[in-house]
Amino acid sequence: MDTEKTLLTLHVNGERHELLVPVHKTLLEVLREDMGLTGTKHGCEVGECGTCTVLVDGLPILSCLSLPIENQDQEITTIEGVAQGSEPHPLQSAFTQLGAAQCGYCTPGMILTAKALLDENADPDRETIEEALSGNLCRCTGYLKIFEAVEMAAEQSK
């Protein structure tokens, strides 16, 4: 369909990208469809499940509810930008080690939300972790291994 397009400049995972996209496309859609960053998943596309969480200037946001035109001067981090080169982030190692990723579909959103928490609070207690992750649904794990993985990553990052 004919839609108005706009030129966007996005800073994603430390790289600058220029894109021509319809103005109403969400950040989720632009990341996945225009930039090929399919590590960001979607579970509802209306802001209910937390699956599409990315970091904007270090804070977790729901990319399905964000218009990228608003994010042009901000630093966006997706799951593809969490590892240092091929070296996984301690959260990625801990999620792997402890079985915190079963089907793995909510995992990118969980890890990014947890990363925002750990960047802010290096030693969160269990209740703080539960609170921080309360907007991210997971249907496989019952969350317990996810809590343990966040604790393990915090421990390893010390």
Partner: protein
Amino acid sequence: MAQAQEYAHIGKPRPKVDAMNKSMGITKFTDDIELPRMAFGKLLRSTQAHAKIKNIDVSEAEKLPGVYKVITGHILPIQFGIMPTAEDEHAMATKKVRYVGDPVAAVAAVDEETAEAACELIKVEYEPIDPIFSIEKAVTTSMDAEHRIHEDFGFGGNIHKIVAMEFGDVDGAFEQADFIDEGVYFFEGNTHLPMEQHSAIAHYDGTGKLTMWSATQTPHYVHRALSKVLELPPNKVRIIAPPTGGGFGGKDDPFSHEIAACKLSMLIGRPVKFTLTREEVFYTHRGRHPVLMWCKTGWKNDGTLMGMHFKSFLDGGAHGSYGPASTYYTGALQTVTCKVPAYKFEGVRAFTNKPPCGPKRGHGTPQPRFAVEIVFDKVAERLGIDPIDLRTKNMIDSHSLTVNWLQITTCGLQECLDKVGEASDFKNKHNKLPHGKGVGVAVGSYICGAGLPIYWNDLPHSEVQLQVDRMGTVTAFSGAIDIGQGSDTVLATIVAEVLGLDPSEIQLVTADTDLTPIDLGSYSSRVTMMMGNAAKESAENMRELMLAGVAEHLKVPAERLEMKGGHVWDTENPSEKMTFRKAAELAETHKGLLGSVGSYRPPRKKGSYKGSGVGPSPAYSYSACVAQVDVDPETAEIKVEKIWMAHDIGECINETLVLGQVEGSVYMGLGEALMEEYPYRDKLGTHKIPSMLDYKSPTTKDMPPVETILVKGHEARGPFGAKEVGQGPLLPIMPAIANAVYDAVGVRIDELPITAEKILAAMEQKEKDGPGRIGPDKIPDIEFPPAIKVEPPDEWKGKLSSLE
């Protein structure tokens, strides 16, 4: 067991082989795949619950720029359905629609927005028919063909399936009983809610070959359905199941969007992708059947169970799906946890104008388990016996046949019950905690794979092929699909164990009908048992082949060779070890290409009566649960404080996976117990809450601590002694919580979910000297057919008189 200590990998906690790619966002799920020139599809869905389709006008939609094609049901006249006896679906409705959300047309367009806009331009003229939303109305209303939901399926009226069977003399048992317990229970329906929405991409290429990538749990069954509906030979259809973002039974059927994607791709010569919106996932459903149940049991005053008569009424929704099996499952496994000397089961499944129900984790067995475990709690109280002791008294024996001919092999239930009782200090808490706090116990059991396939055949249920090349690369080919449960890890671990390698060294090719041998799918907790056994056999054959080749080279007997830790050596000359790669090269030199196969078929079922195909399994897993709750005496707000879960696993293939499955089952059971439900508007039949926000599921804040106890044994029929874990531990959660609520505040909530509103209402009743119970009190007045009388196995004959 000591035996487990000898294994390099089996039984140990290990990361899943696919976990790092999932954690790094590298894993490609179906919707992550994009193909050149790909079009996007959308289904137009019915706004009516029950209506004749008078006309569909697609002319405006076809004219919209960017639309490639619009199709309606007439182009796909062949019906399908997962079970050969319930093929009642069209990809899109042709003559009538049967629920709000029923697909009526499909569009392929340049993008999703255009496809959606085109759907809005399609004009459908409906002539409404009286809808049927309740099980009561569905089973009691007689009507002419025109008003039936399916005029050409089922047993007349809106009855899809009706069964009756009796094992032993139930009336006689009740006569001998000292007392009778009778009650009515209701298990509300709920849905799987996998995080990944269903998605499918079809590509029909220039050679007439159709390839479809789909988020499915059953690529083989989808392959059969597509070949049939599209009238393509099986070798022209290839189904690839990428890693699936959760299933829980919700991706077990062939679906309209899969067929529409294929047909549209065949017509427009482009790849076509359909990804359902979350709202559409709610309409696609196939979730837990709402089941109304009546349970009558006869008991001796010493707590001996004499007989059980169970009736179930399943609200099936608009299609058959797995319904015939679901119906039998509501009556099949009552007998596998306790000795029931006489048992009668009557079940009926009806069509209603709601999204179709199907298999969800535990398939048809959590509902009766909810009822039966509450019955045990009530009877224990009546007799003044501890509820654990009452279960112990009636405990099923290992290596026995149930009265309905199910072959029990290993049974760790007594140990589960004892351990969960000790860990929770149940006996010191039950009936003894302050008002508002309570503990409840329940048990459960589940199959380790269905003993029979969905379509009738005598073929193996799972097959695994291995290839080893001269570089030492081991590749395992299996049709099993990893939906998060860890089937890839099980496959790699078993092959690695036998070949003396590390699981990370095994290459996997899975769930691709062109490349991999058959596995029937990730359902009925069958994969570890069946694919695991096939993988073990295949790997043992490979080991034998390689060692024979190396033995030829070394000119020593093959029996003297050992293969472990990435090396092969002659046990009489252990200082000269060769690498696995060298061994592969030598073996290929002598034997040619190194290939091996393994096949698994379950043992034959014991019973020979009609309906005996549902319930048999190579083995049964057992679980016992204690739940501790806090119920606010003023507001009735309920909080689950802790869950103790003991599970009879046999041996773990991978302990990390096992613990994950137990905790995931506990979580899902808590959702079913406390909040998940599937309500519809009375007059319109529209789903009230087709969104993740309104469909309440437990968040991080709702999850209590879980103490998991693994009861180990060795199941001879399982690979390395393993049994299932994916579904069984869900079963006792719901009744354990119901029983704990009773212990806490003295009210019976005999229907799910158990909400604060219901507890409060029951407490208010009790204050006014009412029964203090919320739940149904009657069942529809229908006549079941005369029960098939089945002679019980010899060991049960005369059992009742011996209990006199």
